[in-house]
Symmetry: C2
Subunit: 223 residues, 2 copies
């Protein structure tokens, strides 16, 4: 185990915790207090850290996702479902709020001809964001949904094609999980970058280098 | 205050907490233990709840964002910067990890001709996701970045145009904040929906209605 810790960079107490919690399979026992760990254990430890540190999953959510990865017969749709549920354990995706948001997102899905089950957590999530925009007096921002849906199509199509390019079922499963969890973070990071670019484009003369220094034009003088 | 609580649906101890923490401005004192609150207070309370409940911000982050909203002379670029920093208080955006991720995202930004400061938190965030994909043996998923960047352009352009459509500076500031914070949640929800749609499209015969029931084809038989 100390070698596994050295190779993976994960501390021994943390490895023991993952073993106890069922996130990491046991090693092959070679004596009373020795076990053999393989490259598979190193890879699994890195995936666990990625889900928890970068994806922000709880240990319980990570376990749910890894159980799906370890079920090679699970249909792809179910694997996506398990990964989505694991990254959607917040109230936003699980607790519907009052308002017209659900009707609106259902209409967007129907208009686009999207084939999506009623229990996809994204329906509740999108509905809750719409209800929130309305409650803070910004029903106008709900209009953003069509551009956002266009962008979601581009990303989801790329997500699926990355999965189908994988050489085997285990790699496909891992791709679904890693892509679903880390993809949210990837997109949010790129959105921050692109927002700054378009701010400079809309307000020319606002030099990116001086963002912190303060030469950008005032809000009151959009051109 | 009890009327403010009734109108806004926020409990009195919570309102007192927001007052103490400086998220909500004081009411106009009318006697020793009475104060007058306006529609502005009701609106501000709803915005605070949206930032914390839907956007997932901490109280400290929400305060940073609201200070930016309350600075009408702040340049638009700075307002976006403040909103982005507030929603990027996690390690993902602030602590660079080792690997070639930063060079890769810097190259993507340069190739697209995006005008973005070096301290945009998205650079660190994207670099860390790239490093994570590589560390879990899925360097292939880094290729997703171009499609994700295309999608981020669509979303960021829509974000900016929603801001410039606002009637006044205060509304613009609020739109930047609400849009930045809630937009991540909106996109993530739509991505989950679109992923399911493309899963069905790629694996036909997999009826959306039966997602939980289990009629979808096995991972081992992609067509």
């Amino acid at each position: 185990m100390s070698e596994l810790s050295r190779t993976s960079g994960v501390a021994i107490p943390t490895i023991k915790y993952y073993l106890r919690e069922g996130l990491l399979p046991s090693g092959e026992s070679t004596s009373a207090n020795q076990a053999r760990y393989s490259a598979h254990h190193v890879a699994r430890l890195r995936l666990i850290r990625a889900l928890i540190d970068v994806g922000g999953l709880s240990v319980a959510s990570a376990r749910g996702v890894l159980e799906a990865v370890d079920s090679p017969d699970l249909p792809l749709g179910h694997l996506f479902g398990a990964a989505q549920l694991a990254v959607s354990q917040t109230e936003l995706y699980s607790t519907p709020t009052p308002g017209g948001g659900r009707d609106r997102i259902d209409a967007v899905i129907a208009d686009r001809g999207w084939n999506v089950s009623n229990d996809n957590p994204g329906r509740t999530g999108a509905a809750n964001v719409i209800n929130t925009f309305t409650s803070i007096g910004h029903a106008d921002l709900v209009e953003l949904i069509d551009d956002y849906a266009d962008a979601a199509e581009v990303v989801a199509r790329a997500d699926l094609s990355s999965v189908t390019r994988q050489p085997d079922v285990a790699a496909m499963a891992e791709t679904v999980v890693a892509g679903t969890v880390l993809g949210d973070a990837m997109f949010a990071a790129l959105r921050r970058i692109a927002q700054e670019h378009f701010t400079h484009e809309l307000f020319p003369g606002n030099d990116a280098v001086d963002r912190v220094g303060g030469r950008s034009p005032a809000l009151s003088t959009p051109t």
